[in-house]
């Protein structure tokens, strides 16, 4: 897991102006979880998981996910996006340690 923060964004090929496309994004992240002992007390661990995901398209925010608990190692998210104009789509992942990981995909029309 040496690539922590590496981001992959998948947008369908052959997008036409006005298409609503499904964007899939994933970040390499270890997900250190909270664990409890037999008495139910939180075992003090340095938990670390993705807690917020935001995306901006053409400089404007299009979606934000707030995660109240850990979801997965290398979590993947998907959302619908209306491709109005060619330009960058930026996805930002923030973890509970304040780590911020950013990836960009270019929306281009065939």
């Amino acid at each position: 897991m040496s690539d922590v923060g590496k981001i992959r964004i998948r947008v369908p090929a052959n997008v036409k102006p006005g298409d609503v496309v499904r964007v899939r994004c994933l970040v390499i992240h270890p997900m250190e979880r909270i664990e409890r002992d037999a008495q139910g007390k939180i075992i003090d661990r340095n938990y670390n998981y993705i807690t917020r995901v935001t995306a901006t398209y053409l400089g404007k925010p299009v979606v934000a996910f707030d995660l109240t608990q850990s979801v997965s190692e290398n979590p993947a998210f998907s959302f619908a996006l209306k491709a109005t104009a060619p330009g960058p789509l930026t996805v930002t992942f923030v973890d509970t340690h304040g780590g911020k990981y950013e990836g960009t995909a270019n929306i281009a029309f065939a």
Binding site: D3, L26, I28
Partner: protein, 442 residues
């Protein structure tokens, strides 16, 4: 016979399957060290991780515990025939049986036994009425109106005890002859079956009925890293490619460039006969010995590193047609042995691979909720494959080992010659078809 190692008793209680981990770990400490000299077929020393070697531990009190993967059963099936080429035991003899007289069967108990997942379950292959029958399979006939056939109890009892008396080519296990069900239990089952009268009411849910159930549609693009975690694992394995092992060499020193170029087409030729080792080797088998002899880095079979690097190398051949050697005399002999293994009946249940994976029998039907693959379609070119149900990448050998357990046969070591030859036989059905790894399956 497989080797049996006597080890100190670790007091394995049969609490939960989780206990296996402990056993596997302890066994691992005691069973290390291999020499890497070439060996003749039949005398192969396994390079697999400890839980993948198919070993059985015998405690001081004689308790036998099979060492398998975490979460798998530890029951020892030593009494039953395996795929080992030196296992000369025949399949269990066909047994006639007479129904115990004067015992009244209880249909209620019979129905519970029919559905009992610790036994058959009979519902794995046969459909019977009831919303709690889920998921039923259709490898065997629909028994929803079985009693309308008006068969004699004694005949039904014999069919359950050992159906080979009536149908020599059946895929149904000899439940009584192999002591999986007791005579009393079989009487209860007969009583239950004789209550199944038609007409059968229409299905409330078409998916309950395996004859009308929807076919599985798959899990989307298997090469999309946001969809298939195995792709990410393979990308991470690229770091191993350039990393120097204890002998000061890296894979990239002899195979210059990125693995996608350097290894292009290599996987299309596997499994193949490797003269140096005098045996058929799958890609994973070869990596286990080749990685160690060249770089000094051990890549034992079924270790994460071995599987991940295998996926990476197989991905380098994606889109290229499978081109294993099927013509040389040595390859043909190996394929013949693989074919014999495919049809060999093994285990407590006396099953063969062919029972589930040929269209004459179970292929393209449901075994419980599982859709059975057809050997003719080619079952190897998407391996190693991500298993959504296991959250792991499985190569072909682990898949074989998994099949052994419900069959009631002790598994062989993951890198056993028998498995490699079986995989070679299966791969002959993939010749000319494009490799597409890693797959993604349930």
């Amino acid at each position: 016979m497989r080797s049996v190692l006597a080890l100190p008793d670790v007091r394995l209680r049969r609490v939960s399957l989780r206990a296996v981990t402990l056993a596997a770990t302890l066994a691992g400490c005691a069973l290390a060290t291999h020499d890497s000299a070439p060996v003749a077929p039949g005398a192969w020393v396994s390079r697999a991780i400890p839980e993948a070697r198919g070993e059985v531990r015998v405690a001081a009190d004689g308790t036998r515990t099979a060492v398998r993967y975490k979460g798998w059963t530890t029951r020892d099936f030593a009494a039953f025939r395996t795929y080992a080429s030196d296992d000369a035991r025949p399949q269990p003899p066909v047994q006639k049986a007479t129904m115990p007289a004067g015992v009244a069967g209880d249909p209620k108990k019979g129905r519970a036994l029919f559905l009992d997942r610790q036994k058959g379950p009979c519902t794995g292959c046969h459909l019977v009425p009831g919303a709690d029958v889920w998921p039923a399979g259709n490898v065997g006939p629909d028994l929803s109106a079985f009693a309308d056939r008006k068969l004699a109890d004694a005949y039904v009892y014999q069919q359950l005890w050992d159906p080979r008396v009536i149908y020599p080519q059946t895929v149904m296990p000899p439940w009584g002859a192999q002591r999986i069900f007791t005579p009393e239990e079989l009487v209860n089952l007969v009583a239950y079956l004789q209550t199944l009268h038609g007409p059968v009411p229409p299905e409330a849910d078409d998916d309950r009925n395996p004859f009308t159930r929807r076919r599985p549609t798959g899990f989307g693009d298997n090469l999309d890293p946001t969809n298939n975690p195995a792709v990410i694992r393979a990308e991470e394995a690229q770091q191993l490619w350039g990393a120097r092992g204890p002998k000061g060499k890296a894979c990239a020193d002899c195979h210059p460039g990125e693995p996608a170029q350097a290894m292009r087409g290599v996987a299309t030729r596997y499994p193949r006969i490797v003269a140096e080792y005098g045996r058929v080797m799958s890609l994973e088998d070869f990596l286990a010995v080749h990685g160690e002899t060249t770089t000094g880095r051990a890549l034992p079979s079924e270790s994460a590193a071995n599987v991940d690097v295998s996926v990476m190398i197989k991905m380098a051949s994606n889109g290229l047609p499978v081109a294993v050697d099927t013509t040389s005399p040595a390859a043909r002999a190996a394929i013949d042995r693989g074919r014999a293994a495919f049809y060999r009946r093994v285990g407590e249940r006396n099953h063969a691979c062919a029972d589930c994976h040929t269209p004459e029998h179970g292929a393209n039907k449901f075994l419980g909720g599982r859709f059975l693959g057809d050997v003719n379609a080619g079952l190897t070119r998407h391996f190693p494959t991500w298993r959504t149900s296991q959250d792991e990448i499985w190569d072909m050998r682990k898949r074989f080992q998994w099949c052994m357990t419900p069959l009631g046969a002790n598994m062989l070591a993951a890198d056993a010659v028998e498995y490699a030859e079986l995989e070679l036989f299966l791969t002959t059905f993939d010749v000319g078809k494009p490799i597409n790894a890693p797959g993604i399956r349930h």
